[in-house]
């Protein structure tokens, strides 16, 4: 399978996008080793098109002009992880929920910690909005890209002051 990586300069630092021709596979704040970095986003390659669409949508998001993403995703995880990620997608722009809320929504009230872990394993940040999940106490919780970025994203969506 043809995978490509693309480095996008975002207002919060470099973002690394990885796509196959089927869809976006990951979006991280760090580079993934072993996947070639595209030199430009020109050409008819399927993965390039996905990367280009993702970059455009993300640019709009950072300008505050986009709330939902349309780019197709190509992610696989365990059944549990996928059920958590599905719930993440349902959190509306500008809202935050707690880890407990997610656990309740997948009808596994006691799996709060597992939800936290699955949340942390989310391969596609921003688009699958794991940053909108915060601790029940109201504190930020954790974030793989660093708490400053989590805070900045929530501030962008103006729910956290």
């Amino acid at each position: 399978m043809n995978q490509l990586q693309w480095k996008m300069n975002s207002p919060l630092g470099d973002l690394y996008l990885v796509a196959s021709e089927k869809g976006l596979q990951s979006l991280y704040w760090k580079k993934t080793a072993g996947i070639p970095l595209a030199s430009s986003l020109t050409g008819k390659d399927g993965a390039i098109k996905i990367l280009k669409q993702t970059e455009t949508e993300l640019a709009e998001y950072f300008k505050g002009q986009r709330q939902d993403f349309d780019v197709p995703l190509d992610v696989t995880g365990t059944d549990f992880q996928e059920s958590v990620w599905k719930q993440l997608k349902k959190i509306p722009y500008g809202k935050t929920v707690s880890y407990t809320d997610i656990a309740r929504r997948i009808k596994k009230e006691k799996a709060v910690r597992a939800v936290g872990t699955a949340n942390g394993k989310n391969p596609i940040c921003i688009i699958v909005p794991c940053h909108r999940v915060i601790a029940a106490s109201g504190s930020l919780g954790g974030y793989s890209g660093g708490l400053e970025r989590k805070e900045a994203l929530l501030r962008l969506e103006s729910t956290y002051f």
Binding site: S26, Y28, K30, T32, A33, L37, S39, P123
Partner: protein, 479 residues
């Protein structure tokens, strides 16, 4: 048949097994070539040289077609004095781009003036000129094989001024950098270059070894391809290695943020894959024994596996004492997680840590590492000796005195010392006879006189490991 006729026939056949073993000077053009060069000069117009330095000393300049500087280097290049031989090896490996003759001479305990005189006598060039030429050679390889912008090429070759680079390049190759450029310039993140070897080349054997000794998350394998995350001078990147048997070359893809590290990366890869080895010389010695001849026939072109960094080998050797290869690997992985710094790269969404430096090892609390206290103490003592400069892992040092020094560290016995000499120093004559697999293999060949393979006993060890490591595993499982 005269010796020169053998050379001439090898040249006509363009036989890659002779690549780097001799060079052809063409009197009519003043150019020297590799045996594999497509140019076919007449017999009366050529003379032969045993190494590229001799050809240059006689006033020839390198061919633009076959690029003699990209031939495999001579492993047994015989300078008149051991000092010059060691110094030349050192120049090829040197990691910084600034070359200070006084400091360099100090490494060998002689004055710069004395070393210069020896060099002029034997090589026809000073150490500084040689180091300078190595960098120009690298720049030519980068210009003709990659799309790296010429400015970057100049930096990679250690130049700060493009004009000086252009002048020096033209002086050596009689053409300007832009005249040699074939590919359109693109600022691609990955550079791809070819490193020549002399066939046969047991790439699969090397891969098999590195796969079973994979270092933490830093090395991984897909089919016939090896990936490795590398750190040079505080910067992190990635390399990918694959074999191109039809061209007698290894393809090296480099994704690294700093081009000035290319020289270091290339020379480390050359030793990682033992590319400068000469399989014919080794086979000649090993084939004097019937059993070894049969083994070599099964694994032609056996090479000495080592590692990206000698410190990784010595640490793995200590943590691997008495335990299985798998367990040893797991311990190395735990140590990396405990003491290594973040590489800034991800694999499967997880941050990859770099191999710890000796300084990081002594600063880390090793309590949670699941090995004996004794081995932890050995690890710390070794790291400390490396930091203090009491011990070095430099491959050009005298092996006997290295073994003596390392044996004085508590917890290091003859097996570990000899294993380290072989894997870290790449000493071709080290033979860890007490190794579990080697000892068993020796018992399988009662008639073989192993001491007769000197100075290539390291290759015999590699051959025995290649043949017997999985056999031993299988019989163990049966129990």
């Amino acid at each position: 048949m005269k010796k020169d006729d053998i050379f001439y026939n090898a040249m006509l056949a363009r036989d890659p097994r002779f690549d780097g073993k001799f060079f052809i000077g063409v009197k009519t053009t003043g150019i020297y070539c590799r045996p594999i060069c497509p140019a076919k000069p007449k017999r009366e117009n050529v003379e032969f040289f045993s190494n590229h330095l001799a050809a240059e000393k006689a006033g020839y300049r390198p061919c633009l077609r076959c690029r003699p500087e990209s031939a495999p280097q001579s492993p047994a290049w015989i300078g008149k004095s051991a000092l010059v031989r060691r110094a030349i090896k050192m120049i090829d490996k040197i990691e910084t781009l600034e070359f200070n003759e006084d400091q360099f001479a100090e490494l060998f305990g002689v004055s710069a003036r004395h070393l210069r005189r020896l060099f002029i006598e034997e090589v026809g060039k000073t150490p500084k000129q040689l180091s300078f030429e190595n960098r120009l050679n690298l720049s030519r390889q980068l210009i003709s094989e990659t799309a790296l912008p010429i400015t970057e090429v100049a930096f990679a070759a250690g130049f700060n001024s493009i004009r000086r680079f252009n002048d020096a390049f033209k002086e050596r190759f009689k053409k300007s950098p832009s005249e040699i450029r074939r590919k359109p310039v693109k600022n691609e993140s990955t550079l791809s270059i070819r490193l020549a070897y002399r066939p046969p080349f047991d790439f699969n054997g090397l891969l098999h070894f590195y796969r079973s000794h994979a270092v933490g998350q830093l090395e991984w394998f897909e089919g016939g391809v090896m990936h490795r995350i590398v750190e040079v001078n505080g910067k992190v990147g990635q390399i990918t290695l694959s074999d191109l048997p039809d061209e007698s070359c290894v393809k090296l893809e480099i994704d690294f943020p700093d081009t000035t590290a290319l020289h270091t990366i290339i020379s480390r890869v050359r030793s990682l894959l033992d590319l400068d080895s000469d399989p014919v010389i080794i086979a000649n010695v090993l084939e004097t024994d019937k059993d070894m001849k049969a083994l070599l026939k099964k694994h032609p072109g056996i090479r000495l596996p080592s590692s990206w960094d000698p410190f990784e080998v010595v640490v793995a050797a200590i943590l691997g004492q008495v335990v299985s290869v798998e367990r040893g690997r797991a311990l190395v992985n735990d140590l990396i997680e405990l003491a290594g710094s973040d590489s800034g790269l991800l694999r499967d969404g997880k941050s990859v840590r770099l191999f710890p430096t000796p300084a990081q090892v002594i600063k880390t609390d090793l309590k949670s590492l699941k090995t004996t206290t004794r081995r932890k103490e050995t690890l710390v003592a070794l790291s400390r000796a490396l930091i203090n400069g009491e011990l070095s892992l430099e491959p050009t040092q005298d092996v006997d005195s290295f073994v003596e020094k390392i044996l004085s560290i508590p917890g290091i016995g003859p097996w570990t010392a000899s294993y380290m000499a072989l894997k870290a120093l790449r000493h071709t004559d080290a033979f860890p006879a007490t190794d579990l697999i080697i000892a068993r293999a020796i018992a399988e060949h009662p008639k073989t006189k192993f001491e007769s393979f000197s100075p290539w006993r390291g290759y015999v060890a590699a051959l025995l490991w290649r043949e017997y490591s999985h056999v031993l595993k299988k019989t163990r499982r049966k129990k």
